[in-house]
Symmetry: C2
Subunit: 501 residues, 2 copies
């Protein structure tokens, strides 16, 4: 049995290496690659992806998994080997259910749709991508239909990102959340909008970058096992547990841009850097779901680096770094500026209170398109209608309407957005448990110390990597299922104080 | 036949993609990778190399090559398809003759020997690497023995780098060259050593880099299809014909370091960037041999950027860039400084006159070790003896003796060095033909223009990539075999003037 398990590990490690190599190529493409490298780079990444896929669906892996069933069953559920076999089987069964031809055709179509979108968005030309999006919808349905027996057609697609969640359970969660959120948003937006002009002065790039890096170093981000570079759309990427990189984007006329994208991506990276080194090179060396990953980026971005205790410590440093810009700005004004709440049209610019309303709109529209109750041709109007009813705003065009997000154009329709809101909810749930165990956490943050929080998260959330599913992990850490109360309490407390609600 | 040829192309392109991906990982490792990435990176690159090798020795490729023989024979020799089939067959036959187990064991051993060398060199501890080097010699012999029927055991190993050359022909070439070189070296070194202290002042890094980049842009290096980054040991690497990168190393107390490593690596890169785009992704999209590649780095480093006409144009710019350091240094003094000839212990620091003597020592020692006339245990003394007899110097230790170069420790023994001298000889041969066709080349260089030279090289040398072997290419371009006269004439003319010989 030892031999079989070892053979499985060797095969999975080879596939992991191919995927890691593709990640390096992707990072290079987004950071340093000269323009002339683009055509070959697309082909190279496709080749690596295809070979990794071929090697993963090799029937020899299926036979190994069959042979290893008795070994798996002889082990406790939370044994590392049992978890690896379990995760490998889940992924293998998923991968082998999708015909390679479908993957090939869909990938090719995605590349085309993405390319068309990059031109259609600036031109406000939904008509030009409509037939492509219709085909994407068709492919997305085909993809879901590879997994018959679902309750809702979106379920298999949600599974890709947030294993164990279903359209129905997300709907219930989102309905509960909406009920609590709407009155909070209303109460805040009835008041005058916070003044964030202090953030919109000129802030030199090098000082912004140095300040952000200093902060994430204090969080515990290990620059010996990572680095930060500049890119257009910030992201975190991992090449191994010893090389977890982040990227950021600097706007010299907006202090918030690089600072919070840095703490956000560092949150993702702390998760990956915190995975137990014994999982290196295996399927377990990854975050467990989109939602759990996002919970960590949001923890460090919002719960930590947009909190009052955090700035009680760091604001004097920031003022010393930018004395001309902030020397005369009070901590209170700065704190209000970085937590300004305002109904807006763009998800990625939204504050943490209204953000989830943007996600819910997209989640509902995805489901309607998959169900067939919303035709792609009617998407622009449906988008505008929902923004009007949910946020009281209508985008002047589709540029900031249904052409706004890359997800449907570069990926598929279904399961693309729920992870963001699950992450927000979960960040507060985990944080509340960390605080219960260590009530001193906020006081430590106010001293610029993050060790207790980081250790708690590493021990309880990061270390296990992909060993447990998100629902299992949440159950293990919190003793129950995902629930919204801590998140609502967090928002009420923070914004109640900010807006004297 | 079309289908078979296409299938061959598809298979070779997949292998090319894997090798290109490995090159990206290697570049990242040498430029930006954080230390924590090292262990996994070694494994990832080994995985890519192994998969590429497995795919290349797939008997299906052998069958395709057999099936394509009649197609190949129906074409003129210089037809692109014929060349691709010919090169693929040559490489396939070579690859299939080496047992995969030997490759695996040797690679593993090389990694170990390299690692040991990185510690042994600073510690002047040849004894610690001696058993490893003995094993390397054994592996090198095994490798050569995969190709029975050789005249000299080094021939198959020389073939890897400089296809078509043999120990015997290199020996003849080197003997001729030595006979001409030795009196030149003697005549120069009887005179006072040139004063290069003007180069050893403080030169800020950013200005050095900007100046070098400005120059290679004028050479024709295309930054839209490449970039320059910093590293420990400068190199050129190609990920596709649209992405050919160079690296450099800056010493703030030595102006020559970055400047000439930049023009050297740019020469390699101009070769790769100049390959016909129709060869992209194929086996023909590469330089044809170590010697031809080095001829181009040496052309742009020595024949161009260490020439008097070049500095007649650029020296005022350099003075304007570094007015404090060079404002009062005459062009003549600067020109003598960058062309200082001095017998020395270190190959990579050697001037262009003595450089080849360093290469010949290594070439001879390699051959003796392979022949069994020199035991590895006697290498340190043999090294010192040769430096004494050839250069009149003895290194104080093995650090700058036989531990000096990485080649034997990170690679194999045999064929590792001759390319450097072949490159020097060939640079002058090609250049003499370029000048014959365009006598205005030097006058253009004196105006800071390189278009005529670059175009001639592109048309005659670069464009064809790996389509012709080095001997074929030399024959096509010069109408005869490799010959040393133009190189000797070049050295005599340049150093005759510099040293009034």
């Amino acid at each position: 049995m030892d031999n079989k398990f070892q053979e499985l590990q060797v095969r999975l490690s080879e596939i992991h290496d191919l995927n890691s190599a593709a990640a390096v190529l992707g990072w290079d493409q987004a950071t340093y690659m000269p323009p002339g490298g683009a055509p070959a780079r697309g082909r190279q990444m496709a080749t690596l992806g295809r070979i990794a896929q071929e090697k993963f669906i090799d029937p020899a892996i299926g036979r190994l998994l069959d042979d290893l069933r008795s070994y798996e069953e002889s082990l406790p559920d939370d044994h590392d080997d049992a978890a690896l076999i379990r995760v490998a089987r889940r992924e293998y069964e998923r991968a082998t259910k999708i015909p390679p031809a479908l993957i090939g055709e869909f990938s090719e179509h995605q590349a085309m749709a993405y390319d068309a979108w990059t031109r259609a968005r600036p031109a406000n030309d939904f008509a030009s991508v409509r037939p492509l999006l219709e085909k994407t919808l068709d492919f997305s349905r085909q993809l879901a239909d590879c997994f018959p027996g679902y309750e809702h057609i979106a379920d298999p697609l949600i599974d890709f990102a947030d294993y164990g969640m279903k359209a129905a359970s997300v709907r219930v969660l989102f309905a509960e959340l909406r009920e609590e959120l709407v009155p909070i948003v209303r109460a805040i937006t009835e008041q005058p909008v916070a003044d964030d002009s202090c953030l919109k002065q000129h802030y030199p790039e090098d000082k912004q970058l140095a300040f952000g890096q200093d902060i994430i170093k204090k969080f515990g981000y290990d620059f010996n096992r990572g680095r930060q570079d500049k890119t257009h759309h910030p992201f975190m990427t991992s090449f191994s547990l010893g090389d977890v990189r982040i990227t950021t984007r600097v706007k010299e006329n907006d202090l918030g841009e690089a600072l919070f994208s840095t703490t956000h991506e560092a949150g993702h990276a702390l998760y990956e850097q915190g995975i137990d080194m014994k999982f290196e090179g295996s399927l377990l060396a990854a975050g467990t779901s989109a939602g759990v990953h996002e919970s960590q980026s949001r923890t460090w971005e919002n719960l930590v680096s947009r909190s009052r205790p955090f700035w009680e410590h760091f604001y004097p440093d920031l003022q010393a770094t930018f004395p001309e810009q902030l020397g005369k700005v009070e901590l209170d004004s700065f704190y209000r500026a970085i937590n300004k709440v305002q109904k807006s049209l763009i998800r990625t610019d939204a504050d943490e209170v209204t953000y989830n309303l943007h996600v819910m709109i997209r989640f509902d529209l995805e489901l309607q398109m998959l169900e067939g109750t919303l035709a792609v041709k009617d998407l622009p109007e449906a988008w505008h209608a929902r923004y009007q009813s949910d946020l009281g705003l209508t985008a002047p065009s589709d540029v900031d309407g249904c052409l706004q997000d890359v997800h449907w154009y570069g990926g598929w329709i279904g399961g693309s957005f729920q992870g963001y809101t699950i992450g927000n909810i979960l960040s507060a749930l985990f944080f509340s448990h960390a605080e219960k165990a260590h009530p001193e956490i906020k006081a430590e943050i106010a001293k610029g110390e993050f060790g207790t929080l980081h250790n708690w998260l590493r021990t309880n959330v990061y270390r296990s990597g992909n060993k447990f599913t998100a629902p299992e992990l949440i159950e293990r850490v919190t003793g129950g299922p995902l629930r919204i109360e801590p998140y609502i309490n967090y928002l009420r407390a923070k914004y109640g104080e900010l807006y004297q609600l």
